[in-house]
Amino acid sequence: MITFEAVTKRYPDGTVAVDCLDLEVPAGQTVVLVGPSGCGKTTSLRMINRLVEPSAGTIRLDGTDIRTRNPAQLRRGIGYVIQQTGLFPHRTVEDNIATVPVLTGWPRKKARERARELLTLVGLGQELARRYPHQLSGGQQQRVGVARALAADPPVLLMDEPFSAVDPIVRASLQDQLLSLQAELHKAIVLVTHDIEEAIKVGDLVALFRPHGTLAQLAPPEELLAAPADDYVAGFVGFDRGIRRLSFVRASGLALGTGPVLPADATVAKALAAGEPWILITDPRAGTPRGWADAAKLTALPGDAPLGRAAAEPLGHTFTVGTDSLRAALDAAVLSPAGQAVGVDDDGRVLGVATFDRLRAAIQAADKSAGQAGAVDGQAGSRP
């Protein structure tokens, strides 16, 4: 656990980078420091491994004041990942990853074996072990950077804008990987970003900074979106926070209808009898969705013809009822030609469809419960 106690960083020219910061990073949790440039988030991060020394206040690592620790020793127990990767250009990938184990006195052979385990852990192939960093793509380099930080299995991981320099698709996959790594490894992670989306995606807690190094709000991401402490926070999280917040609401609470769902071997007459404007045609055996058929066009077919003969429009995408969020369900409805979201189970079998009306009911129910939470936090946050 990392604890900031009234930590201030003032530079000789009088600039205050961090102003009396109190913050706790629990073991096994990811705390994201987010805010505009110059808000002191990176300075705060660098004070943890003593790359920057605070002017006042105390930082403790598992209860011990870090000033009492030898800096080099302290740092070997804290993983560090930066945007520019900082990989050693003159060392192979495996030797880069083996850096800290070798520094702490492991035999090189054992350190390299460990490096190869980590390559697998971060989703890279063994064939990259002997390459040099410049022979890797940006995303691969960043993964090697994460592997290097994890090599000595430190309990704490510091990440300074780790995914800012890669393209959005690679960034999303790196973020997903961080989430799955964290689910497995349970580190205390402090991640700095200027991207509120990233903060909301990867953080267990989000610490939103104001300019000049004060905390605007420290809260779990769903609370930050549902109950921003003030206008600054609301402005920073963005105008579409209402929709983004739905990422944290499970779609399992959504009421699904089965009226328009019919297998491809049902007759056209039966489909028309359902009285629905759109019919979802499913595979008779697998139960998977095939596509939407416009009821108005079905009338052109003979009544005893199977539905499978009707022209079906593509689904857009489905949502998985057990695991996906209400946001995914809403998105599925928006993209569907029928304006209805198709909910499937883990095997892809159709469980039912949700109309906008049903989605709205679910969202209102979620709002109601968040509103109650927000009322409590609103009082805490309304302090001037």
Binding site: L51, R76, Y80, L87, P89, H90, Y132, L158
Partner: protein, 209 residues
């Protein structure tokens, strides 16, 4: 007239060997002095400008004048030439040591520090290896210019391939002049190629150029 060459092969070899010594030793001494100076200059920025000024002034001194200035102390010996040429090599190598060390990407040094390298280890295992290409580039210029300047030493009687063109001029014997010039060029070229090979073996991570 080309028959002069086989007849004087042993003289040519001896002069080549002496010229090699006068070229390589000063460059190596220059490197040995440049490394600590360069490391200090890269670490403490205020240290570099005054040192660079002194080095540039020394570099501006004509080589012959420097020889003459050293003669009262060291006489008409190899030592005089080697000291003078060491000063000149130092002048070209030092800026490269500083540039090489300063050219290490800040993200790399920061990452090294954050991973728990102490300053000395970081210097030895991260910064100096990364500065090798630039330092060797300076060493190449140092070696080549020392090899060529060594001939000037002949004017104070220290023998090198320079003997051949001075003797050839005095005797109006072009063959000897050509052999002297070609010898210096070939020697410089060979040394340069050896340094390129050394650089390649020390920097396997760089793509072949």
């Amino acid at each position: 007239m080309w028959s002069w060459i086989p007849g004087n092969a042993s003289l040519i070899w001896q002069l080549t060997w002496e010229n090699l010594k006068l070229g390589v030793l000063p460059a190596l001494y220059g490197l040995v002095i440049s490394l600590p100076l360069g490391i200090i200059a890269a670490r403490w920025r205020w240290f570099y400008p005054p040192v660079l000024t002194v080095v540039n002034i020394l570099y501006a001194v004509p080589s012959l004048a420097l020889f003459v200035a050293l003669i009262p102390k060291f006489g008409l010996t190899d030592t005089t030439v080697i000291i003078a040429l060491t000063v000149f090599s130092l002048c070209v190598i030092l800026p490269n040591v500083v540039a090489g060390l300063r050219g290490v990407p800040p993200a790399v040094t920061q990452a090294a520090t954050a991973m728990g390298y102490g300053q000395l280890r970081r210097l030895a295992f991260v910064e100096l290896p990364l500065a090798v290409p630039v330092i060797i580039a300076g060493l190449r210029v140092g070696v080549v210019s020392s090899i060529s300047l060594a001939s000037v030493g002949q004017l104070i009687g220290v023998s090198s391939l320079g003997y051949l063109f001075i003797d050839g001029l005095q005797r109006s014997f072009p063959t000897e002049i050509y052999v002297g010039i070609a010898g210096v060029i070939v020697l410089a070229l060979v040394c340069d190629l050896i340094l390129v090979a050394v650089r390649r073996s020390l920097t396997p991570w760089l793509a072949r150029t």
